[in-house]
């Protein structure tokens, strides 16, 4: 006896995320999430290039400040590192909260993450200002150029992340961010954690191994 099973129409909307309606993908996973991972993979090449350039050029200066434990303010930068690390925790908790449908808790953690990210950027601005006062401008020497380009690009990534975070907070206040849009928060969370990962590399390679 042969039992015939009929196939649902392929063009039917598909539930991806607690009621969210999206369309079938050929990979069986979310296109948006896959796109973010591909972007992050390509961003590895960007930061790999910047870190390699810094490593090649940092001791090539003929004048001006050079990288050393005396030049960098390690205790200050360590605090900044802890701040960014803690922001990764709050981001992960925000993603977990929205998956549970707890929008209010998610908003609290998103706001906390934005505040921590802003604190990190404020610290970077303070650090750059202090370095300029010590005589290291962007064009002072090749170490300065490589250092500001690398850490500046990271700072831009954090700043863009803060803008996205605030957008998510506004969306949640307007009632357009709920459990159905959990994947939006999760995809942004990937970006934020990647920014933290890049800082893990920069903190070790640039600051702790001068």
């Amino acid at each position: 006896m042969t039992e015939i099973v009929t196939t649902p129409p392929v063009e039917d909307p598909v539930v991806h995320d607690k009621g969210a309606v999206s369309h079938q993908t050929s990979t069986g996973v979310s296109n948006e999430k896959l796109a973010m991972w591909v972007f992050l993979g390509s961003d590895c090449l960007l930061f790999g290039g910047l870190i390699s350039t810094y490593l090649l050029l940092r001791h090539r200066s003929t004048h001006g400040p050079s990288p050393s434990h005396e030049f960098f303010d390690i205790p200050f930068t360590s605090v900044s590192s802890f701040v960014l690390l803690f922001s990764s925790l709050t981001m992960a908790l925000a993603v977990a909260a929205i998956h549970r449908g707890d929008v209010r808790r998610c908003r609290t953690f998103l706001t906390t993450t934005a505040v921590l990210g802003s604190l990190f950027i404020a610290g970077q601005v303070y650090e750059f200002t202090a370095f300029v006062k010590e005589g290291l401008g962007y064009t002072t020497n090749i170490f300065g150029s490589a250092f500001y380009t690398l850490t500046g690009f990271h700072g831009v990534h954090v700043s863009v992340g803060i803008v996205f975070l605030l957008s998510l907070v506004v969306m949640s206040l307007r009632g357009t961010l709920d459990a159905e849009r959990a994947e939006t928060v999760e995809i942004f969370g990937l970006y934020w954690h990647f920014v933290d990962i890049v800082w893990i590399l920069i903190f070790t390679i640039v600051y702790l191994i001068p």
Binding site: Q24, W37, G41, S42, L85, F86, L208
Partner: protein, 127 residues
């Protein structure tokens, strides 16, 4: 008794129909998400590793070789912990891990070759 389907499409997630795959995948994905307590434990581990890293700053007359030997493994562990737990690579569909690892591997390979071609690993580099 045999079963035949008019047009089943395998998605690799164990579901028979295209319409079922993402939902089933999502449910499985949800159930394997770490709890808040796990995230906090992971953050404590990361903070402890960072504290140890910062502690190397206070070692007097530490050679670059010693710093590299101590700090690089900790950096790699922190990188992996954030990617596996906070970014859910440990729990998510392997296609995400492949996409990221491909970019990461390509970057490491390209820039190790670049640094090698510039004789960066030579003890006299930069002197």
């Amino acid at each position: 008794m045999s079963t035949s389907s008019t047009s089943p499409t395998s998605t690799g997630t164990g579901a028979e129909y295209p319409g079922e795959a993402p939902h089933a995948d999502h449910e499985a994905h949800q159930s394997t998400h770490p709890s808040d307590a796990t995230y906090i434990k992971v953050a404590i581990v990361l903070a402890a590793l960072t504290a140890v890293e910062v502690g190397t700053y206070f070692i007097d007359d530490a050679s670059t070789t010693l710093l590299v030997a101590l700090l690089l493994p900790m950096m790699v562990v922190k990188f992996a912990v954030v990617a596996l737990w906070f970014m859910h690579l440990r729990f998510d569909n392997p296609i995400f891990r492949r996409a990221f690892v491909f970019g990461l591997t390509l970057a490491v390979a390209v820039y190790v070759i670049t640094l090698t071609s510039m004789q960066f690993w030579s003890p006299n580099y930069g002197s």
